[in-house]
Symmetry: C2
Subunit: 253 residues, 2 copies
């Protein structure tokens, strides 16, 4: 079980149940302050309608339970949502993100949100990556944790093997790679089913992880920055893939 | 004056002086712990060679001066680096970022770093945007604060007028815009000199700021995320412009 904090996360956890699509709510229990109850009455009522127990608690108790400095007064207990690696691979996804040793929860959550926006069909938290249920990661994902399949607690090596077996190319984001993102785009390679591998915020991908990929690819640096932040690099790479896969590709004539 | 913390920021502030390009170091004074002195001896020596006073201080004093939870033992006092809006406009830049009411220092610093990487020639902190010298913003910029002209303390309205006068198109990033980024790209519009306007993390750009732009443009959402984080949106928009301006454009045949 993990805690989803704030109205947005609770709404997303309630998600499929709330939008009438017939899905099952992930909220197994809700803790709410009197103030939040008054402010988000409809949301609390929607949770109550699913049969999940709703507990009104004081602000002091909420401050103890919540991980945020300024709690928003709503806290849902949710079951883990991650799926086995085999299940992700069996769905034959066309765009997947693999985080290898991504340690910063804010960055990881932002990558998850960006992956969702770019239409990725899975995010894998591999090797020593941060726990996807870390409260800061959940918060930064802005609900995307509930939107697409995630896999946790697997090795990058096993992930590479499973995704390659499912027909995906593996591209490693590496600022020092000789091959540029735009070259790959012009060759039409980004339109293929792709898994993007991103490394640690400080040291990137070591040689043994780079060796797992079909190609190492650099986002071009046009100015004087040494590198891009991992969340920015992921945004550029994932949107390049999304554009190519959705027919907006920059293929050269 | 402001404080640049850690070896990377100090190196960048020393920047032009250190790379032998004949520039002037921005470090006017350096505070360093004994431990950091031992670890970054060459850097400290390089600062000393510029004539800037170097003060060895204890770890407790550093903990008081530094804004970080785990100070890295090096703290440079630097003069403000921002330039007047008129100076930025007179340089006829081809790619500029305008932040309007961007409040989160980590996001703003990341946008500054991404703007640098994408080859932007200026970043404007307009309206009620965070102070570019906020320690978290300086840190997130990873040295880019010292790489490209920044402008602070101006209105978005005055910025729009000055940049339009310098021949730039103004594009507002707005998730609800009817016009998509790829459409604009295919029309060849992104190859033009462009200023990108980004709004507040939570509420985006209000109508009066949207009205300043030639066009409001949406980064397409392929999945179920409601929106992109501002740093991710900026990465996608700025790299679309950079690609178009550097000849990798996705212009349709």
């Amino acid at each position: 079980m993990f805690l989803a904090e704030g109205p947005q996360a609770v709404r997303e956890a309630l998600g499929q149940a709330g939008d009438g699509a017939g899905g099952v709510s992930l909220v197994t229990e809700l803790f709410v302050t009197g103030q939040a109850m008054a402010r988000h009455g409809e949301l609390v009522a929607a949770v109550a309608r699913t049969g999940a127990p709703v507990h009104e608690i004081g602000a002091e108790v909420m401050a103890e339970l919540a991980q945020t400095v300024t709690p928003q007064g709503l806290l849902a207990v949710c079951p883990f949502v991650d799926v086995p690696l085999e299940q992700l691979a069996a769905a034959r996804p066309r765009l997947v993100v693999v985080l290898a040793n991504a340690r910063d929860p804010g960055n990881a959550g932002t990558v998850l949100r960006t992956a969702d926006a770019a239409g990725a069909q899975g995010v894998v938290f591999a090797d020593a990556s941060v726990d996807p249920y870390n409260s800061k990661c959940v918060r930064s994902s802005a609900g995307s944790l509930f939107h697409l399949p995630i896999v946790a607690g697997v090795s990058a090596r096993a992930t590479a093997a499973a995704l390659r077996g499912a027909g995906l190319s593996l591209l490693a984001a590496d600022g020092s790679a000789a091959l540029g993102l735009d070259d790959l785009d012009k060759r039409g390679r980004l339109a293929e089913p792709t898994a993007w591998l991103f490394g640690n915020e400080a040291w990137g991908l070591p040689a043994d992880l780079l060796a797992l990929a079909d190609d190492a690819v650099a986002v071009p640096i046009y100015g004087r920055a040494e590198s891009l932040n991992i969340a920015a690099a992921a945004a550029v790479c994932l949107y390049a893939s999304a554009r190519a896969q959705h027919g907006g590709a920059a293929q050269s004539p």
